[in-house]
């Protein structure tokens, strides 16, 4: 058993540079609180962990089935508001409200499917865009129950201390990312969903022709994606102790798409890289109170959205497949005979010995 595990690690992780880097990175994340315990750094990293779950769930719904959802904040906001309302009126604590919020978001995913499964392409994108905005209108129209513009504040904190908050979000994040990565792994022998979702994205009609019930798998993608986005929403509400209209905002829906496409769509780890690079970068720019040129009144921190957008445009024009995928393609090469990934500095495939050139 142990020997098998050791062999798997050697064959599947150490031999592929991309996975080795991912492993080292995730191990490092566990040691960050030992290096620094500064309040602000941990605050940013906790939010990054939460948004990683959110971005990866968008990749799961939209990247893998090819149905670009513009309203992913719907799940996030439904879960945040459910958690907040359950706490406010029933007095439930975070360990109960967060899973219940995620379940509410799953139900919301089913509701969204009713129109979404009949539509495709731009029509689907725009209907999903409408969903959170409709809910937002309803929330603002009943301020007595939902707090209107100000949202519901005064929720109990996730846990007592910042460090335990960090470990909770980190472990939930790792578990969610691992589950979604396994569900979308097209070469997995255990779960077939990965290869089926790939098939639906590439050619839905061909997938139907081979006897796949594509409707069922799209529903599945919406439910799983909704659940994890809801998990992120519940964590967010309890971490910031407030559930407000910002959780349903259009900017949040677009933000998640930008993170994912920046890192690389249809690749789970791309979404992780996107959030880990872009979110701290924005926070860094916010702190950067230096004039653009000496004596000017405009600070770099005022220009952060401008810089951010310009960077997004540059990335999309020159690396349309995303940063993480671009780097991986530089480091790894697929064996033409057995389709195994190899480090790009190898001359022959590590398994079958075929020449890689």
């Amino acid at each position: 058993m142990l020997r098998r595990l050791f062999k798997d690690i050697q064959g599947e992780i150490l031999a592929i540079p991309g996975r080795l880097i991912a492993l080292i990175f995730f191990i490092l994340l566990f040691f960050i609180p030992l290096i620094t315990q500064e309040y602000y750094i941990l605050f940013v990293l906790i939010l990054v962990n939460i948004f990683v779950i959110f971005a990866v769930s968008w990749d799961f719904v939209s990247g893998y089935t090819g149905q670009v959802s513009f309203g992913h904040a719907f799940f996030f906001g439904v879960a945040a508001y459910t958690a907040a309302l359950l706490n406010k009126y029933l007095g439930l604590q975070p360990w109960a409200t967060i899973p219940l919020g995620a379940i509410a978001a799953t139900l919301a995913g089913m509701v969204m499917c009713l129109p979404a499964l009949r539509l495709r392409g731009p029509y689907l994108s725009l209907v999903t865009l409408a969903m959170p905005l409709i809910l937002l209108g309803i929330i603002k129209a009943f301020p007595d129950v939902t707090g209107g513009e100000h949202g519901i504040s005064g929720l109990p904190a996730l846990s007592g201390s910042r460090m335990s908050d960090y470990y909770i979000t980190l472990i939930v994040m790792l578990a969610s990312v691992f589950i979604m990565w396994k569900l979308t792994d097209s070469r997995s022998g255990m779960v077939r969903t990965g290869i089926i979702l790939h098939a639906i994205r590439e050619d839905e009609i061909a997938a139907r022709a081979t006897g796949i019930n594509t409707i069922r798998y799209k529903l599945f993608a919406f439910i799983v994606g909704g659940f994890f986005a809801g998990l992120a929403g519940g964590l967010y509400a309890h971490f910031l102790k407030i559930a407000g209209p910002a959780t349903l905002d259009m900017t949040l829906s677009f933000q998640v798409i930008i993170w994912t496409v920046f890192g690389g769509i249809v690749s789970i780890y791309g979404a992780v890289v996107g959030v880990y690079v872009l979110y701290p970068l924005m926070e860094l720019l916010r702190q950067f109170n230096v004039p653009v040129w000496p004596g000017s009144e405009i600070m770099f921190s005022d220009m952060r959205f401008l810089i951010f957008s310009a960077m997004v445009i540059a990335i999309l024009l020159f690396m349309p497949e995303g940063v993480a995928v671009w780097i991986r393609d530089k480091m790894e090469r697929q064996c033409p005979r057995c389709k195994l990934s190899n480090a790009s500095w190898r001359r022959t495939c590590r398994a079958c010995g075929a020449s890689l050139y």
Binding site: I134, I138, K140, I258, V261, I298, L306, A310, L317
Partner: protein, 290 residues
């Protein structure tokens, strides 16, 4: 009350129609969802504000400068950023969104995130059927009617219009027939930007001018265009007046309506799409049907 409602519905529907026709045109011809479309409205409104209040120019020069500047910005951004990645639908949406953010942030840096106002083109009001109607409202309705009529004539009666419609139907065949498709795309982009900036110039005095003013009309015109059927200009025209009517009716007759107006308009869109997934006048190709 009822007369005011009719006027307001006509104005809102008309402005949405101007925006939606441009959006629909560029989608039909270039198959791109241009999320920066309404930011041309914002740019034109700021152009009016800047040229009249800051530079002190008269209204007609101001209109000319705003219109031309917005069209140039539209064409340049199309040529530089969108043209080469036109085939990737999602990438186009993200780039146009980033462009809209850049326009918005530049306006914040240049003028601050304050509420501004633009000059009314014709001050004063008339009394029609015992209600006061601002001349600006009448002017908006007239401009919308003239521009839409002009668009209809352009698309049906001129060679350019026929080339545009041919490209929208099938770009490859149009190319084989000797139509310069990339020029047609550029022209369509220019027309779309012009329609958006005309809308911006006429509504700038009626709405508040501020850097985020592109967001809510963007959502509404996307609802309209989807409702009418993507790429169908007739459909988006009819849908613009349906959505405008619903929105104004909600504001006038429902308590708390100003919060619910976009929610209910969007709900109408979702319901119609569930009944008719291709929109009112959308085209469904047989192989695309599920």
């Amino acid at each position: 009350m009822f007369q005011a409602f009719v006027i307001q519905a006509l104005v809102t529907g008309g402005v949405y129609a101007l925006l939606a026709v441009g959006f629909s045109l560029i989608f039909g011809v270039a198959r791109m969802v241009n999320l920066a479309h309404t930011s041309f409205l914002m740019l034109a409104a700021y152009g009016m504000f800047y040229t009249t209040y800051r530079l002190g120019l008269d209204v007609f020069t101001a209109i000319l400068i705003s219109l031309v500047a917005t069209i140039i910005i539209g064409l340049v951004s199309y040529k530089l950023f969108i043209d080469r990645i036109r085939e990737h639908e999602v990438t186009v949406m993200l780039i146009t969104l980033a462009l809209a953010t850049i326009f918005q942030e530049s306006m914040i840096l240049a003028f601050g995130a304050h509420f501004r106002e633009a000059p009314t083109l014709i001050p004063g009001y008339a009394e029609i059927f015992a209600v006061k109607v601002m001349y600006q409202h009448l002017l908006t309705i007239a401009v919308v009617a003239v521009v839409l009529l002009g668009m209809w004539l352009l698309l049906t009666k001129t060679k350019l219009g026929i080339a545009i419609r041919a490209t929208a139907q099938d770009a490859e065949i149009a190319n084989l027939m000797g139509i310069n498709v990339s020029n047609i795309l550029l022209v369509a982009m220019g027309i779309a930007a012009a329609l958006a900036s005309i809308a911006g110039i006429v509504v700038a005095p009626l709405w508040v001018v501020f850097p985020y003013m592109w967001m809510s009309p963007l959502v509404m015109i996307m609802a309209i265009v989807v409702l009418g059927g993507l790429g169908s200009i007739k459909g988006s025209l009819i849908a613009a007046f349906i959505i405008g009517l619903v929105e104004v009716a909600v504001v006038f007759y429902l308590p708390g309506g100003s919060f619910l107006r976009s929610a209910i308009a969007l709900l109408v869109m979702v319901i119609i799409l569930v009944v008719r997934p291709e929109g009112l006048y959308g085209i469904v190709f047989e192989e695309e049907r599920l």
